[in-house]
């Protein structure tokens, strides 16, 4: 331990046990525990206690305090600390000798004190025990001190956190007590298990037979965690012993603790111990799938279908459960008896699903949203069921969307009822659009495309669609445009796409003018994405350029909402890269003639918010990287102009992006920096590198060094870090340059160094003036850039987080006035 910390510890400990001095901030204690954990993990706890006897004194003083003087915070801290120390067996014995552990964790300790009613204390007690239970000594202690019995009752604690921690600790104790005993002997009967394990199992058994749902839930939770964490052979014996009790729960009406029961069955099924088919497990799952309500079976069905190994019949049953609600929708809305639906009408559970769908709006919406989300999750998985009824699923989703937007006209009474329930339901609409988006995956049938395009257009056109629905609709359109199948022999966008695009663009135009910023922004994001993927497609270019979309996107550069301005900058940057704003270059569009570069530079210099300025620097960097026509005209002027603006920016991300721009520029003029990854593919060089002295002179003229040095001493760490990397790159590049070996005029160098020193202490008022390459290089060589780099790599709150700082804070805070302590934002 740091000597400074050792020096502060006694004072800290005495503050903690002084009832007159309240410790206000428990984040401090929490962080100190983090530190103690690292200290105890790195070395001997016994030594630590021997060298710092104040720590043992703290634990015994806490026990000696009068009940009214015990601070729950300090007690909880002490319990956790004691547990950490006792995690090492020798230290455990040392503390045991003084009866400290029994005092802290035994029945006569805090367990029986008034402060036990404070959840923090109970939580500290459990956490302390959990740290302590790492070795056989600790395990015996738990058994002998009555802690296991206390844990049983804490499972039902009024605090969720305490109850959950108690369950976790029981699992930990069970696993620990079985660790050595049952390893390698799977046939070991439960009756031969260690006493502690037997006690826990007996408690679980008794709880499973209980008539109160809460106790059953607690037992199921313990088992779920056990099978999730422990994969030793003894878990198989345990399941063999308990599975009849679990199965018996299904005989009750209603089935208790269904949620926990589902979790348990899935946890068992996922355990590698049960990879070999366990018929009783599958039977129980099958029974459960058939007897629970549709809302309850959904998660079990999804979990079953996600299993790697599972009997085919069960998979079919589970898939049937997931499809049931959509099958019911299709049946209820069918205009005439048509081809077979998603499921056979006689399928089990059908009437229950229909009842749920028709019972109330919230039940119907809940079931549909859950089903759609489950299917969305299942669709991309490699283990999704086959055959996957793609066509019918698309049909079902389309009809749901039609029910939501009111365009469906079902004739059956059930259909009419659904129509009334779902009309205008945003939740279902969003869930359906989400699922529809993923339905492109693996779609081979291009006949589906027109009906999907039609409903998506309808949704986008509907004035009733909310911004969140529109966003989902745009995402679904992107999926279907970019991933939808094309008929055989069709090489480009497919037969429906051009027609769709022609209908889509007027809608997009409308949304670019929406009064909601969310809609304008989503529309711009959509445009950016689409043009990034399809900028080269003739059909797309034609439709886009014939529309007002580029013009509107341009106008949005002046949007009152900064998010929208930023998205417009990105969209225009993308369009411009693809040569897609050229068609507007007509006398009717005077703004275009100023040039997009001018407009973006204007935003960079005057926009009061960071997002648009950041977007501009990102676009410029991309343009430079991809040799955009407007940039290559005069790259040096372009870079210098951008840097001049960026260097004054208040947003550090803009300044950092400026350095990125410089990096790209240097890579193009000097060659790539050595890739940090040896397997990285070297990018092709745009132009052959120019001679170094010439380049350096240009860099000086462009004031790149001025910018980089200023950034090096930036108050924002990422900027300084980037600048440091950049200057190191330049210094290394210039090392072999013989023509510049000689340092420049020594007085110039001294003056630069003096200015840089002032910059370092934050006085950046004075400029560097015009620099010569030789002077710059001399200054660069004299700087300890490597040292700076490693300092900057360190997270800048390391001082705040340091134990000295924490201890000092605790000591200083106790003198604070009450009023300060109580304050908040």
């Amino acid at each position: 331990m740091d000597p400074e910390c050792s020096r502060l510890l006694p004072a800290f400990c005495s503050v903690l046990v002084d009832p007159r001095q309240a410790v206000a901030d428990d984040t401090c204690l929490e962080k100190l525990l983090d530190w103690f954990k690292t200290v105890t993990e790195a070395g001997s706890s016994l030594l630590l206690l021997q060298e710092n006897p104040c720590l043992v004194d703290l634990l015994s003083h806490v026990l000696d305090l009068k009940p009214q003087d015990v601070s729950p915070r300090v007690l909880s801290f002490s319990l956790r600390l004691a547990g950490m120390f006792a995690a090492q067996e020798d230290c455990f014995e040392y503390l045991q000798q003084g009866q400290l552990l029994l005092g802290l964790f035994g029945e006569a300790g805090p367990l029986s004190w008034a402060v036990w009613s404070v959840p923090t204390v109970r939580s500290g007690w459990i956490q302390g025990l959990k740290s302590l239970a790492q070795h056989p000594g600790g395990l015996h202690f738990l058994g002998d001190s009555g802690a296991v019995d206390a844990l049983f009752s804490l499972q039902g604690d009024s605090s969720l956190f305490v109850a959950s921690a108690a369950s976790q600790l029981l699992v930990h104790v069970l696993a620990l007590s079985m660790q050595d005993k049952a390893e390698g002997s799977p046939s070991l009967k439960g009756s031969a298990w260690p006493a502690c394990a037997q006690k826990i199992v007996a408690h679980v058994e008794a709880s499973l037979c209980s008539t109160t749902a809460l106790q059953i839930t607690q037992a199921l939770n313990v088992l779920t965690t056990t099978f999730g964490r422990c994969h030793s052979p003894w878990t198989e014996v345990l399941w063999g012993q308990l599975s009849p009790l679990v199965a018996h729960l299904l005989d009750s009406e209603p089935v208790p603790a269904t949620h926990s029961l589902v979790d348990l069955l899935l946890s068992v099924a996922r355990s590698p111990v049960f990879a070999s088919a366990d018929c009783t497990l599958w039977e129980t799952i099958a029974r459960m799938l058939s007897c629970l309500s549709p809302m309850q079976t959904g998660p079990l069905a999804l979990g079953t279908l996600k299993l790697q190994h599972c009997p085919q019949a069960l998979r079919s049953q589970a898939f049937g459960v997931l499809l049931q609600p959509l099958a019911c929708i299709l049946r209820a809305t069918a205009q005439a008896p048509g081809p077979p639906g998603l499921l056979d009408e006689t399928t089990q559970g059908c009437s229950m699903t229909v009842d749920t769908l028709l019972s109330s709006k919230s039940a119907c919406v809940g079931l549909l949203c859950q089903t759609l989300a489950h299917l969305e999750e299942l669709q991309p998985l490699p283990q999704h069921p086959l055959p996957w009824p793609q066509t019918l699923l698309v049909e079902a989703v389309v009809i749901i969307l039609r029910l939501c937007d009111g365009s469906a006209a079902p004739s059956s009474s059930e259909g009419c009822r659904l129509c009334g329930t779902l009309a205008g339901c945003i939740r279902v609409q969003r869930a359906a659009l989400g699922f529809l988006g993923t339905l492109t995956l693996g779609t081979s049938s291009w006949e589906l495309v027109p009906q999907v395009f039609a409903i998506l257009l309808e949704t986008l056109k509907s004035p009733a669609s909310s911004p969140t629905v529109l966003k989902k609709a745009f995402q679904a359109v992107l999926h279907w445009l970019l991933d939808s199948p094309t008929p055989p022999g069709c090489s480009d966008l497919g037969p429906h796409t051009p027609l769709f695009l022609r209908e889509l663009f007027p809608v997009l135009q409308k949304h670019l003018c929406s009064p909601c910023w969310e809609v304008r922004d989503s529309a711009l994001e959509f445009l950016t994405h689409l043009s990034m993927c399809w900028g080269g497609e003739a059909n797309f270019r034609e439709v886009l350029l014939a529309s007002d979309v580029p013009k509107l996107a341009w106008q949005l550069l002046r949007d009152p909402e900064s998010y929208v301005r930023a998205s417009a900058v990105t969209a225009m940057g993308q369009l411009s890269s693809q040569g897609l704003q050229a068609a507007s270059d007509s006398p009717g569009h005077p703004e275009v003639q100023q040039g997009l570069v001018g407009e973006l530079l204007h935003i960079l210099s005057v926009d009061s918010e960071g997002f648009p300025r950041r977007a501009v620097t990102r676009v410029f960097t991309e343009w430079l990287r991809n040799s955009h026509a407007d940039v290559v005209q005069d790259t040096e002027w372009f870079v210098a102009t951008v840097l001049q603006m960026v260097s004054r920016d208040l947003d550090w991300e803009v300044r950092a992006q400026g350095l990125e721009l410089v990096q790209v520029f240097l890579a193009q003029t000097l060659g790539q920096p050595n890739p940090s990854c040896p397997y990285a593919v070297a990018l092709p060089k745009v132009t052959p590198p120019s001679p170094l002295p010439e380049v350096l002179r240009t860099l000086c003229q462009m004031q790149i060094f001025d910018f980089a040095f200023r950034a090096l001493f930036d108050c924002d760490r990422p900027v300084a870090q980037k600048a440091c990397d950049l200057l190191l790159f330049l210094r290394n590049k210039s090392a072999p340059c013989s023509g510049l070996q000689e340092a420049g005029d020594s007085s110039d160098v001294a003056s630069v160094e003096a200015t840089l020193e002032r910059w370092q202490v934050g006085e950046q008022g004075q400029p560097l003036g015009s620099l010569e390459p030789e002077v710059v290089l001399a200054a660069l060589r004299s700087m300890d850039l490597e040292g700076l780099q490693s300092r900057l790599a360190e997270s800048s709150d390391h001082v705040e987080k340091s134990p000295q700082s924490l201890l000092q804070d605790v000591l200083a805070t106790v003198a604070l006035l009450e009023e300060n302590v109580a304050d908040c934002y």
Partner: protein
């Protein structure tokens, strides 16, 4: 059993980060989604695993409500919606929606910049999260779905802060968020109507304090600033971009104007413009004075306060600088502090709370030698002042609000356990209202007795009216009928209508009672005596003697028969339908008393 359940995941007996789960009539609502500024790891966010274990978040939660833009109330929102996976609606007021992303972005920049954290939400995530927000107006009833509705009330505290009423059917909960019951320089006082919720969840930051007048603190603040600049010192006021900064700006601006001072005042981040824009935009949310003077002079157009440039910090002479962030933990405020700390003529005024670990916290706790990065030690010679301008209701204000809303129960959050305990006692004793103060993770369950609306058929009402009893608005009336449940609705109808609507056949149920009388006369004679007795006793009823020897009173049938075992006794069989239960019972009792002796 209908009940309201409340579980704080944050703000339960602490002021770290507010996040309270409320379950009301089967609907689940999250109130606030705050972040703890004192931690730099996952502990800064509420532990959402306790909700995710209930299945998909979006299915479980019906909505999230954010009371105001402070990070301890909204800081975890992008994490919750974009990283944990909540995809449902988020409600907040218009000003909160406008200002929230600025503060989230500000915090993100500091977290990523200073700590170099990678696993933090991004700008894009903040934007995507804000797109899920539904903005609400004050006093507008917003229908979240068919059953759940919410309504916002003015809370003072900061621009856009609101209290929310959450209502399902006749059950309701009010959540105050942070509020202020006394108007300040730019905001009004919180107000709520007498909505009598089942539960009022109120903050209790100043649960035991009666705060002094803010005027004194303001005077003190101006005096200190003035004295420092008079002697040529520089004043640094670390603030968060929005909120208190505007209040202090108004204060200084007015003072400078009055005293004709020329010393420059700067605001550092370039955010003044935007902040002021929002204050202008949401002028209706400010207090009456500002609204009134708005026509002549916009309070947020500051003549004396100029944008700050980093180079100005080195300028000689006095100046006042507002710089972000407010806890001196990064960025410009820290940079300026480092420059000015060594000069005893200068002063730093901390107008708000600082979490442990920040430079702000250290200097407030009296530490004067600070270890900075790179093992440098910064000696703080400048004067350090703390002035709390935080706008929370004090004990008096909290009691006032409870009195105003008249809840059935009160639940305290956002405060310290000890102080909450004191206030709880006060509320229970003085207002006779039960009061709870759960710790984080503890659930409070309140049973409710929901009133179930029942429709009454027109026929039944008309029948009632025909009896000449006119309804009175304030007087409850007893009405008999058949309660039927159809299409999830309850209706009270006449039994005939019930049978018709439910398609049921009518069955008649008759009750029969035997009355034993010692009498040796024949059955016919006996019946005649019964008839005469009843005829004379029941003058208002129709009593008939039928040819078969039986007697009827309305629907009640009375027959005399011989006793099977006792020849000296007779049995009267009294039978009636359920409609005449009352009369039947009366007759039975009457006959049991015996028949009058024949003269």
């Amino acid at each position: 059993m209908p009940e309201i359940r409340v579980t704080p995941l944050g703000a339960g007996q602490d002021v770290g980060r507010s996040c309270i789960l409320v379950s009301i009539a089967g609907k689940n609502v999250m109130l606030d989604c705050g972040m703890h500024m004192g931690f730099n790891d996952d502990r800064r966010f509420p532990d959402f695993s306790y909700i995710t274990q209930n299945g998909r978040l979006t299915d479980f939660l019906d909505c999230v409500i954010i009371s105001h833009f402070h990070l301890d109330h909204c800081g975890a929102l992008p994490y919750f919606s974009e990283m944990v996976g909540y995809d449902g609606p988020i409600y907040m007021t218009h000003p909160t929606q406008a200002i929230c992303p600025i503060l989230l972005e500000d915090y993100r920049k500091i977290a990523v910049d200073k700590k170099g954290e990678a696993n933090f939400f991004t700008s894009q995530m903040i934007k995507d999260c804000m797109k899920k927000v539904v903005a609400v107006h004050l006093h507008q009833t917003v229908q979240v779905d068919d059953e759940l509705e919410i309504k916002a009330y003015y809370a003072g505290h900061v621009l856009g802060a609101a209290m929310f009423q959450i209502k399902v059917g006749s059950e309701s909960v009010v959540y105050t968020g942070d509020y202020n019951m006394t108007p300040d320089r730019h905001l009004g006082a919180a107000w709520i109507d007498k909505c009598r919720p089942n539960l009022l969840i109120t903050e209790s930051t100043y649960a035991t304090t009666i705060r002094d007048s803010k005027r004194c603190r303001e005077r003190d603040f101006l005096k200190k600033v003035h004295e420092t600049v008079e002697r040529g010192g520089k004043v640094l006021i670390p603030v968060f971009a929005l909120g208190r900064a505007q209040e202090l700006c108004i204060l200084l601006e007015t003072f400078w104007e009055r005293m004709n001072l020329k010393v420059p005042i700067y605001f550092s981040t370039g955010l003044t413009e935007k902040a002021n824009h929002y204050y202008k935009l949401f002028i209706t949310w400010t207090n009456q004075k500002i609204r009134k003077t708005f026509v002549q002079r916009n309070m947020f157009e500051f003549k004396h306060i100029k944008a700050f440039d980093r180079a100005f910090a080195d300028n000689p002479g006095p100046m006042v600088v507002f710089a972000t962030p407010g806890m001196l933990h990064a960025g410009q405020s820290l940079q300026i502090f480092r420059k000015w700390a060594g000069n005893e003529k200068n002063m730093v005024i901390m107008p708000g709370y600082c979490v442990q670990g920040t430079v702000g916290h250290k200097i407030l706790s009296g530490q004067r030698k600070l270890e900075m990065e790179g093992r440098q030690v910064l000696e703080v010679k400048m004067q350090v002042e703390y002035m709390s301008f935080s706008a929370h209701a004090d004990a008096k204000g909290i009691m006032q609000l409870v009195g105003q809303a008249e809840p059935e129960s009160v639940l305290l959050v956002h405060g310290e356990a000890k102080k909450m305990g004191f206030l709880r006692q006060k509320i229970e004793q003085e207002l006779r209202v039960s009061c709870y103060m759960p710790a984080n993770g503890e659930t409070v369950t309140l049973p409710t007795s929901p009133s179930i609306p029942v429709g009454i058929s027109l026929g039944l009402l008309k029948r009632e009216m025909a009896q000449g009893l006119l309804p009175e608005a304030k007087k409850p009336r007893l009405l008999h009928g058949t309660l039927i449940m159809k299409d999830s609705n309850f209706r009270l109808v006449s039994s005939e209508q019930a049978l018709k609507e439910l398609g049921l056949a009518e069955h008649q149920l008759r009750f029969t009672c035997r009355v034993h009388l010692q009498d040796t006369r024949k059955e016919q004679e006996m019946a005649l005596r019964v008839y005469s007795h009843l005829k004379s006793t029941l003058k208002d009823h129709c009593v008939q003697h039928l040819p078969d020897g039986s007697v009827t009173v309305e629907s009640i049938l009375i027959q005399a028969a011989a006793h099977s075992e006792d020849p000296g006794a007779k049995v009267l069989l009294v039978s009636w339908t359920y409609q005449d239960e009352e009369l039947g019972s009366f007759l039975t009792a009457l006959l049991k008393k015996g028949l009058p002796q024949t003269p």
